[in-house]
Subunit: 242 residues, 2 copies
DNA sequence: CTTGCTTGTCACCGGCCAGTGACTTATATG
DNA sequence: CATATAAGTCACTGGCCGGTGACAAGCAAG
């Protein structure tokens, strides 16, 4: 499991000898030859990772388990243990790939003149990318529920991606207007977008907005752009906080 | 049940001495008198509800189950079925109480002059109330992960509370400035606050903000107030969208 | 008193899950 | 060729969970 993996460290097993042997089947009848999958380690690993991603995106993280992943992949669960060291390692591998996916989502072109325009464009692009990526959504939702080590690892990768993104934006757009806490404002806007996307995938609404209606998303996008533009507009010298 | 694991119960059941029938005890030896809990239906129901709330707030919704609740309450799980009709009914009852809690959170005084001031004060108050209420946080996180019927019921209650809140605010503060999509802006801000609070209880950070540091929350609060004030400031006639 | 309802308690079932040992067979290596 | 390794498969253990049936004891009405 995740955090509470060490549940029963000290049970002693009074193991009885296994009765049946494989060859016994010949006595009862002819075996229909199960036709094992052709050997392909890399392909099998890919199948397992793909299955985990599919379950995560479709059914959420709660449905992830060694049995379910193996079943989805059409593979014996033993292979999950052998190749990844259990669910823990599999999730770590999945996190690596997820990091790549995040990179894709953050690859929107950074363009525009001035901080306000650049940030606004980036926020809107981020919203669209996140809305399209169900896997990242599942990971994000997971982080809000679990407190495990795997989550922390995955979250660290994501944070690093966001940090890089911020640095890139700042390098392109320059500094935000003086006296504006851009980090906090961006955090609020980003968090708002994340939350609305996550609400859409389950509840379908939030605070009077029907999140199943594309029109609502247009309004949300406009609101974010509106806020971002207003906050980072050039003549913001009148606003000052400590 | 999610991946969160509970590993405790083995050492509680060490008393194995049960015979097939209750009366058999007299044959084998004197019974130490299991001393059943004195009869108190209302008290027992309250204990169960309280236990469910405690688990939800402490361990999250993933840890909720008939067994765990009964164990936490120190009560046989059969009573959960008898009194509430299973987990479903228990959660419904809990939702009723939760609705009251939500009411508490929304009972901040609506005061101020003008839409901007009223909304800003309400948002800040809502943030503080939500930060203090771990049970509502758990419910909110749950809604982002599950897609069940109980969730929908609970969410409906919450939405109704928010709707009432909006109506009250509008009645007090009047309409927002023309040309401003207040519903969408408020949704973004509200969603941002919710998301940051939910991140704080698990990940502890978001987009470069350390959510374990009270100073970060001061900045977030300032950012929300800043945005709200700027968006709803009276001379907003220059801004127009469709 | 007897009868019936309720409260509290326990035992048990089937099902799913995590994890392990062991077997078969294909492939590479000598 | 023989043999060691690795891939794929199966069987099995132990455990928790949801859910149900049954039992003992309190309590009240007749």
């Amino acid at each position: 499991m995740t955090a509470a993996a060490r549940c029963a460290p000290a049970w002693q097993l009074s193991r009885k000898a296994h009765g049946k042997l494989r060859g016994e089947a010949a006595l009862t009848g002819e075996r229909p030859k199960p036709a094992p999958r052709p050997r392909d380690r890399d392909g099998t690993e890919a199948r397992i990772i793909q299955a985990a991603a599919a379950i995560m995106a479709r059914d959420g993280v709660g449905a992830l388990g060694v049995n379910t992943v193996a079943r989805e992949a059409g593979v014996d669960k033993q292979l999950v243990y052998r190749y990844f060291g259990g669910l823990e390692g599999l999730l770590e591998r999945l996190g690596t790939d997820l990091r790549l996916w995040l990179g894709d989502a953050a690859d929107a072109e950074i363009a525009g003149s001035g901080y306000a325009e650049v940030i606004t464009g980036q926020l809107v692009a981020h919203l669209a990318a996140l809305r399209a990526n169900h896997l990242v959504q599942a990971a994000l939702a997971w982080e809000l529920v679990e407190r495990s080590e795997a989550v922390a690892r995955l979250g660290a990768a994501k944070n690093e991606a966001i940090r890089d993104w911020f640095a890139q934006v700042r390098a392109t757009a320059g500094a935000p207007p003086r006296g504006v806490d851009a980090t906090a404002i961006n955090a609020v806007l980003l968090a708002g977008m994340h939350h609305l996307v996550l609400r859409a995938r389950t509840a379908g609404d939030f605070a009077g907005m029907d999140l199943t209606d594309p029109a609502s998303w247009a309004r949300i996008e406009a609101a974010v752009a509106h806020i971002s533009t207003a906050m980072y507009a050039a003549p913001a010298a009148t606003i000052d906080d400590a």
